[in-house]
């Protein structure tokens, strides 16, 4: 079970990504609305789905025009699933109109699809010719997207309509009221007869179409799948995505990105630093100063793993990832208030809930600043305890923390690069003091590196907090006092 609620999906930027794609057909939109993550049993079909994206990307390079033409027709499609499902039973003339129009559109779509598919060889997307079905609704082969019950197959109906027309002709010329009335009465009788014959004709047509019902439903599903795949392929081209390798026992994501974070940073003219991470089962700890980088890294990892499960290319240069049966994200911004718990209480309840899953290798647990909300001495002990416990389990766990001593109990340790690049000599500090506060903040932001660096598990936490105090030119007396307390 992918245990992320709507709010969490929104926060990690998953909802943002889904909103970036706009299928052109109503069936593509439907497929997107009903999109579900793959489970472990669906690993093979997930692989094929992901391969399809790569195949479409290739097609977009060599014969983009065909795809554009296809999408143009897709855009004109109407959502008529209910009319198709009604084939074989009671139908209306409007249903038949809609089905005839779809058949005309399919007549255009299928040859283009076949042409594309000869090159692409897409997995699990096929369409069946429906020319014969169109003949049923368009016996005159007019190919005009309007519908009337043709008298071609219904001689009785033809006779009634002709008789009716004769009466109507007389009615146009009639002047005497009595004569008019008499003609109107005859016409009413003929109208009733015509309607009865039309009902019979509709039923006959409906039954004649019956064998095509399943084929039409499969065809619109194929259109939905194809449309969505094209959109996924375009998304990966625009934002940089790669075909992930689905492999057990290892996660490797190189230079990951997160479109939502990227857009937020770009608004304030900052750059998103790509994030790379490689991990095995047990705990991977991410540490760093309280400047946000840890959370961004965790969210970006969550986003990209989730995208793979939903059949999207992850936004990364290289991706290796297993199919997880369960993905859990625990952060203290969980909605716990409705259960009458503090945010910390909420985290513990969540931990209880996932306990059965953690002994399973097909589980990914993401803990964002676990136990941040409680007092620091207990919080630190809790974080260490939980880390030691999870590190013995088969599940993959990623823990961000700013507590000292947690990473030492994990099996891998990443640090947000932070202010590493900044040389803090006396001269630099002196130069800093000459600048305005705004310039100082900008300077820190420009030196802040949100990338992840693999370090040894016993690497100490970077002392970025005190450096930030210095850089912002906090009063020397306060800085000295802070340093004194750090030693204590």
């Amino acid at each position: 079970m992918i245990d992320l609620d709507y709010e969490q999906k929104k926060r990690i930027g998953f909802t943002y990504v889904l909103d970036l794609i706009q299928p052109t057909s109503p069936y593509g939109k439907e497929a997107l609305r009903h999109i579900l993550p793959a489970s472990v049993e669906q690993e093979q079909s997930l692989r094929m789905e992901l391969e399809n994206i790569a195949k479409i990307q290739k097609i977009l390079k060599v014969s983009e025009q065909a795809v554009i033409k296809l999408l143009e027709i897709f855009q004109q499609l109407r959502y008529i699933r209910a009319s198709i499902e009604g084939i074989g039973g009671q139908m209306s003339e409007v249903d038949l109109f809609e089905i005839k129009r779809l058949l005309i559109q399919l007549d255009e779509i299928i040859p283009i699809f076949e042409e594309i598919n000869t090159d692409a060889q897409l997995n699990n997307i096929t369409m069946v010719q429906t020319k014969q079905a169109l003949m049923i609704l368009d016996p005159e082969e007019s190919k005009i997207a309007s519908f009337h019950i043709s008298t071609k197959s219904f001689p009785v109906l033809a006779t009634v309509r002709n008789e009716k027309k004769e009466v109507e002709k007389k009615l146009r010329e009639a002047i005497v009221p009595e004569e008019k009335k008499a003609l109107q009465a005859i016409r009413t009788g003929l109208v009733n007869h015509e309607q009865k014959e039309e009902q019979k004709a509709i039923l006959w047509l409906s039954q004649k179409l019956e064998p095509w019902r399943k084929i039409l439903l499969d065809n619109i599903d194929a259109i939905g799948k194809l449309d969505l795949t094209v959109q996924k392929a375009k998304l990966a081209i625009t934002y940089g995505g790669c075909l992930p390798k689905i492999v057990e026992g290892k996660i490797k994501l190189t230079n990951m990105s997160n479109p939502q974070m990227r857009s937020i940073l770009n608004q304030s003219e900052r750059q998103f630093t790509p994030i790379s991470i490689e991990m095995k089962a047990g705990v991977t700890a991410i540490t760093g100063a309280n400047m946000g980088g840890k959370s961004v890294a965790l969210k970006t990892l969550a986003l990209n793993v989730l995208l793979i499960h939903y059949g999207f290319f992850p936004f990364a240069e290289e991706a290796v990832c297993p199919v997880f049966e369960a993905i859990h994200l625990i952060s203290d911004d969980l909605e716990s208030s409705d259960r009458g718990l503090s945010s910390f209480g909420g985290e513990i309840v969540k931990l209880l809930e996932i306990q059965n899953d953690v002994c399973n290798a097909e589980t990914l647990v993401l803990l964002d600043e676990f136990a941040r909300g409680t007092n620091p001495s207990e919080g630190s002990a809790i974080a260490r305890g939980v880390c030691a416990y999870l590190n013995k389990q088969k599940a993959f766990t990623v823990m961000t923390t700013h507590y000292e001593g947690v990473a030492a109990l994990a099996n891998a340790h990443y640090q947000v690069a932070g202010l590493r690049k900044l040389e803090l000599d006396a001269k630099a500090l002196k130069d800093m003091q000459k600048t305005t506060l705004g310039e100082r903040i900008a300077k820190i932001a420009s030196y802040m590196d949100y990338g992840l660096i693999r370090v040894s598990i016993d690497e100490e936490l970077p002392k970025d907090a005190i450096n930030i105090c210095r850089l912002l030119s906090l009063d020397k007396e306060i800085v000295d006092l802070i340093e004194m307390h750090m030693v204590l």
Binding site: R78, S92, E93, V94, F97, E98, S146, F147, H148, R161, K164, K165, E168, L171, R172, V191, E194, Q195
Partner: protein
Amino acid sequence: MQKTLFNLIQQYRTISISGMCKNAGKTTTLNNLIQNTPHSEILALTSIGRDGESVDTVTQTHKPGIYIREGSLFATAQDLLQYCDVTKEIIENTNIATPLGRIVLIRALSDGHVQLAGPSTVQQLVLIKEMFKTFGADRIFIDGAVGRKSLCSRSLANASILCTGASYNKSLDETIADTAFVCNLLMTEEMTEIKTLIDVEHLSQKYALMGKDISCYPDSSDMSKILKQAKDAKYLYVEGAITDSFLKSMIRFGFPKGLIFVTRDASKLLITEETQRKLVARDGRFGVLERINLAAITINPYSAYGGHFDAQEFITKMSEAVSIPVINPMR
């Protein structure tokens, strides 16, 4: 020779018909137009909301049906197709939803009766009108509903017909007075000068006061104060409706002599006769950017509630009260 109703609208492509009340003879008027339209023309029909039932659902009186010729187009809600006895060709199923199903466009493959239930907004009607045109309609009639002055809007119709009748009021004189008031209001004069002054920027604000300069205001909270100071103001343009209560407060607080209250078109003037009289007494008047083209008034001397008018008296008095032709479509 006296002009027929069709003669009066002959030069216009889209014609809307609206009524002072129910049973004012809208359908009779429509049938009159249908009958007199040359057979060579492709006619297209729709309505705003539901109309054309054989029995009026409010007053239970027998109503005339709409009978069209082979080749005509019409737009109606899907659920009403079963009551249309023409042989039908469905030419379009629109996205416009109504309580009676989506609006469907039909080509009549035979003569016959139709029941119309078109879209409920003017914007949607404009869409239907455009579809009719693409399907080759030469002339489009839009059957209206009571109190939908917006149907007369030039964005929808090139010309309009106003129907009035004995069902409006037991008193012939009051029926005539009220019809004449509505008619004159609809025909409010077009302000050509202001059209050259006004631009998109002004239209984005709710109020624009125009004299030597143009100043815009998003709301009317200080309007009475502003008007007091603006001695040289000539026009007050209001984007949206001029309501009775707005106008009453302007009259109470006073405005520069000769000020013209301008709206986009006369369907936006939602005021009573009494308020208009007071406005005129204070030397104010109305103007519009786009004048509604009211081609004729039709009368129905028969009341659904009993108490019919004398047809000759009705037509004579009505003709005296308005400057446009008055026609009895039953004759």
